[in-house]
Symmetry: C2
Subunit: 315 residues, 2 copies
C-alpha cells in the first residue's frame, strides 16, 4: 500500500493560493519527497505530514520552483531531531548545486548524494529506514527507483518508483516441503535458514512473485518519445500539465512544458491506470476548466490540487 | 513620508499562519526590503506590494529564516522585467553567501553588494531609483543607512534608516534676496544656479534644516549596550521579541534573542517614539498575550502581525 499527498500543484512561482509542485510518498511509514520549491515545508505543516521520516528526496531539476525550498526543509528536518542520513537523488550537477545552496546550512545528519544515476536504484527497508540496497541487482528490493532523461530548458530527469509486494505464504507448500513451523517467519522474510542440519529456502514456503505498485513522475518536460515505455503500466502517472488549453501549445513548446492533452496522450500510450496532472502555470486560475481536454484523450485523469491525498493498494 | 508593511512577524521557521520576519519600506515609490526568509515573496503577493521597485535589500544575518527566500524573490523580481541593479547590504561574508545560494539563479539585472560597511551609506533618488550617492559624506542624501554590530549566534547587523526632509521654501527670503522667480524651482531642488550673470544658492530661498524620519531595525540579538545610542530618537524602532514572557529569559540568553521586556527597555533608553515587536518564536501562538509585559516598560509598544501597515509622517 502506498499513500501520497500532492503538497503543491503550481509551477513557476509560489502563490498565496497554490504551493509549488511537490509530491510526498509514504511507504510503510517512511517518506519519499519529490521536488521541493519555496514553501514546500509550509505545505507539509498545513497537511501535518511530519518531517522526521523523510529518507529520500528526488529532485527533477534545478529550477528555483523545484529546489528553493530545500535549504529550509533540510534545516527543519534537522530541528526534528533526525540524525539518520538522507539520500538526495538528482541530475548531473546535484553535488555542486547542494554545496552552493546549503552554504549557510548546518545539518545534524549526513546527506548521501546520488547524481545522474544511469542504473536502477534498489532500496530496502532496514531498521525502519529506506536504505540503498548494497546488493544492487541481486537480492530483494523493497523499492526500485528508475530515472529517465527529459527535455526541458535545464537538465531534468523523470522518476519511476516500484514498490515490491511480498509473495503469498503458502501453508500447503510449507507442509508439502516438510518445513518446520519454527522457521516459517524467517523464510517468509526472505531469509535462507539452516535448521537441524538442513537448508531451507524461501521458495519452499512462498508463492509466485506478485505485482507491486508503480508510480511515475514526469515534470518539467516536453512529451519525449521514451516516456510511454518508461511509465508503462503505472498505477499512477503524475505528469506536468503546465498549460490547460491546446491553444497554448506554442507556449508549451517554447518553454519546454506540456499541455493537458499532451500529458493525457502520454498516459494513454503508456497504458497507465490513472493520470494526475500538476505543475499548473500561474496564469491558470482554475485548472478544472480544462479537465475535459484531458479526459477526451484519457478518461482516468485527475486534476491535481494542493493537499490531494490518495492511497494506492496492491491489486 | 514613509510607508511600511510588516510582511512577516515570525522567527525560526515559516508557518502556515505566520510568515518570517521581513519589513518592506516604501519611500517616494521606491522600496527597501529588510530580510527575506522562505515565503517573503508569497507575503508580498498577498499584500499586493509589487516586486519591480525594490532598489535595496538589507540582510541582518545568514540564518535561513532571514535569507532562504532571497533566491526566489530575486528570480521573481527578474520576471517583473526589472533591469536596473539591486543593492544588497549585509554582514561580512555576504558575497560568498550570495554566490552560494544563487548558484542556479539567472538574473536579468546586476547585484551590487555592500558587505560589512563600517561607514554611513548615503543614497539619492536619481532618475526615480534609490542609488548609492557617489559623494559619500558630502552632498545631500535622500536617505542614510547606518549599521550596528549585534550579538547573535552568527555575525549579525542592525540597521537604521534616516530619510531626509527638504527645508521649507520661503517666499519672503527669496524676495529679500532678489531671487528671480524663474529659478525658484531649481534652487528648491538644491541646485546652484548661474542666471543673468549672478550666482544663486539654495540657502537664498530655503529655511533651516528640518528633521527627517528615523527608523531602526534590530534582529536577531541580545540587547547590547550600544543599541540605545544607535536607535536614539527613532520615529519607529522595530525590534525582535522572540520570547514574550520574562520566564523565557534563559532561553533568550541561550539562543541570543530577547524577551518583550528586554526590547521595551531598549526602546525606553533609546527614547524612541514607538516600538514595533516582531520575530516571535513559533512557540508563541498569540504574542498579544504578552503585550502588557512590554507596555509596562514602554507604553508605545505595538505587537507586530503579518500585513501590519503604517505610515510615518514628517513632524
Amino acid at each position: 500500500m502506498l499513500d501520497l499527498i500532492l503538497l503543491g500543484s503550481g509551477g513557476g512561482m509560489p502563490m498565496p493560493n497554490r504551493h509549488l509542485s511537490s509530491l510526498l510518498l509514504s511507504y510503510q511509514g517512511r517518506k519519499i519527497l519529490i521536488d521541493c520549491g519555496e514553501g514546500t515545508q509550509v505545505a507539509m505543516r498545513k497537511m501535518n505530514t511530519g518531517f522526521k521520516s523523510i529518507d529520500i528526496i528526488c529532485i527533477t531539476h534545478f529550477h528555483g520552483d523545484h529546489i528553493f525550498g530545500l535549504p529550509g526543509l533540510l534545516s527543519t528536518i534537522g530541528n526534528s531531531d533526525r540524525t539518520e542520513p538522507i539520500i538526495i537523488i538528482g541530475p548531473h550537477g546535484l553535488k555542486a548545486v547542494l554545496k552552493g545552496i546549503l552554504i549557510t546550512t548546518y545539518l545534524p545528519y549526513d546527506i548521501y548524494i546520488i547524481e545522474n544515476s544511469e542504473t536502477s536504484l534498489g532500496f530496502i527497508l532496514d531498521s525502519k529506514l529506506l536504505k540503498l540496497n548494497e546488493f544492487q541487482g541481486n537480492g530483494k528490493n523493497d523499492m526500485i527507483i528508475d530515472t529517465i532523461e527529459l527535455e526541458h530548458s535545464s537538465p531534468c530527469v523523470g522518476y519511476s518508483f516500484y514498490f515490491s509486494r511480498a509473495p503469498k505464504f503458502l501453508i500447503e507448500k510449507a507442509s508439502l516441503n516438510n518445513v518446520p513451523q519454527d522457521i516459517w517467519k524467517r523464510l517468509q522474510k526472505g531469509e535462507n535458514v539452516f535448521y537441524n542440519g538442513e537448508l531451507y529456502e524461501p521458495n519452499m514456503v512462498l508463492g509466485e512473485e506478485r505485482r507491486g505498485i508503480k508510480l511515475s513522475y514526469i515534470t518539467d518536460s516536453r512529451p519525449v518519445d521514451a516516456i510511454p515505455e518508461f511509465i508503462k503500466g503505472s498505477d499512477l502517472f503524475v505528469c506536468e500539465g503546465t498549460y490547460g488549453s491546446d491553444e497554448d501549445l506554442d507556449k508549451a513548446m517554447k518553454n519546454f512544458h506540456m499541455t493537458f492533452s499532451e500529458a493525457s496522450k502520454l498516459a494513454s500510450k503508456g497504458e497507465v491506470k490513472e493520470l494526475l496532472l500538476t505543475h499548473f502555470s500561474t496564469s491558470i486560475e482554475n485548472p478544472e476548466e480544462y479537465k475535459e481536454d484531458a479526459k477526451k484523450i484519457f478518461e482516468n485523469t485527475i486534476i491535481g490540487y494542493d493537499g490531494l491525498e490518495k492511497t494506492i493498494r496492491y491489486q
